[in-house]
């Protein structure tokens, strides 16, 4: 799925890192500013330009089973979210809600010049095995690993159970 137009696009936008998102380069993964210079161009076409926004974890009603939602915006070429981990939770998996159950997915496409959007009743992260039971106002670090762009680390706030982005 690397059929990307190789042309350069919009300038790099630092401001795309909004809200509670804090991006840091982790584990040698090249990040944002660096991703134009990575070794993956060439065959793969234009580099992805990723930013994460609107991330939140609704406070789980009981115990450690939580969902996580966020949006990965992409001002560049196609990429793929392949893994999510956290120093604060044992297991994070990617799921999609179907009408009656959930199915786990191994990776999620981040379309070129588009967005990968997590949402309630749709694509979500399933977070289990919290080291410390989450409370309102906590932040959980999520390390999002992409096929081409390396790892982006974000601090995701724990919000009210019924929170939706765009509401205070």
């Amino acid at each position: 799925m690397s059929a990307t137009a190789g042309r350069a696009t919009l300038g790099f936008r630092r401001t795309a890192l909004t809200g509670a998102v804090l991006a840091t380069a982790l584990g040698g993964g090249a990040l944002l500013a660096a991703c134009g210079a990575g070794g993956q161009d060439g065959a793969a076409g234009g580099p992805a330009r990723l930013s994460v926004a609107d991330s939140y974890i609704p406070l789980p009603p009981a115990g450690g089973m939580a969902a996580g939602y966020l949006t990965v915006r992409n001002d560049g070429g196609q990429d793929q979210l392949v893994k999510v981990t956290s120093p604060g939770a044992e297991s994070i998996t990617m799921h999609r809600s179907t009408p009656s159950r959930m199915e786990q997915v191994g990776s999620l496409d981040v379309p070129a010049h588009g967005a990968l959007q997590f949402s309630r009743g749709g694509t979500h992260l399933m977070i289990m095995g919290w080291q410390k039971a989450p409370v309102l106002g906590d932040e959980l670090e999520l390390d999002l690993t992409f096929a081409k762009s390396g790892t982006i680390s974000v601090k995701v706030p724990v919000k009210e159970l019924t929170y939706r982005p765009g509401q205070s």
Binding site: P58, P60, T98, P99, S100, Q104, R120, G121, L161
Partner: protein, 222 residues
Amino acid sequence: MPRTTRTTRLVGAVAVALAAALTLSACGSSGDGSGAAKVTQQKDATPYEGTKLTRNFEKPDLQLTDTSGQPFDLRKQTDGKTTLLFFGYTSCPDVCPTTMGDIGVAMKKLSPEERQKINVVFVSTDPQRDTPKVLRTWLDSMGSDFIGLTGDLEKVKAAAKSVGIMIEDPVVNPDGTVTSTHGAQVLAFLPSDDKAHVLYLSGTEVKTYEHDLPLLAKGVAA
């Protein structure tokens, strides 16, 4: 307003799906506001923003255990009272807490009198893990007066089936985790005849519940 459009589209989709057996293929959709907003005739005929049911299911004949460990007879103990019914499980991170949480928010906006007129009933589709105690803790986050029922899964499946909801046995995944089934809809039974009249999909917005719960509390006909 895009939100309205989406609701309408879901409403339309479900009205169609209902004709079959509540397959609810539209419920996963979440973002795109545009598109197939076509079926609206159902909506105009009712004061409710939820979907008016054309087939009014009987309240399931279901005896289970409530969160205090006591036997609970759904028909007897909710007789003559507006009842919202949802089938789900507590280790479901996405749809179940979102649905019940949104109902909880809307319930809190009601006056105490209105609130007393509505039963919110959550039936576990994962009785193995959802003990009365687990259910109570989970439900307390949404509404301390919400009724949680658990017990024989076969009974739950039969009850769900009687209102068009397909519940399957939990599946143990290769990694040891368990996936259960949840309903994709909330059914509202009116006090007048104890039958289901309004349906809410799992993607229903809080404001839809906020609009409809006062009507449901009054028992307004759909």
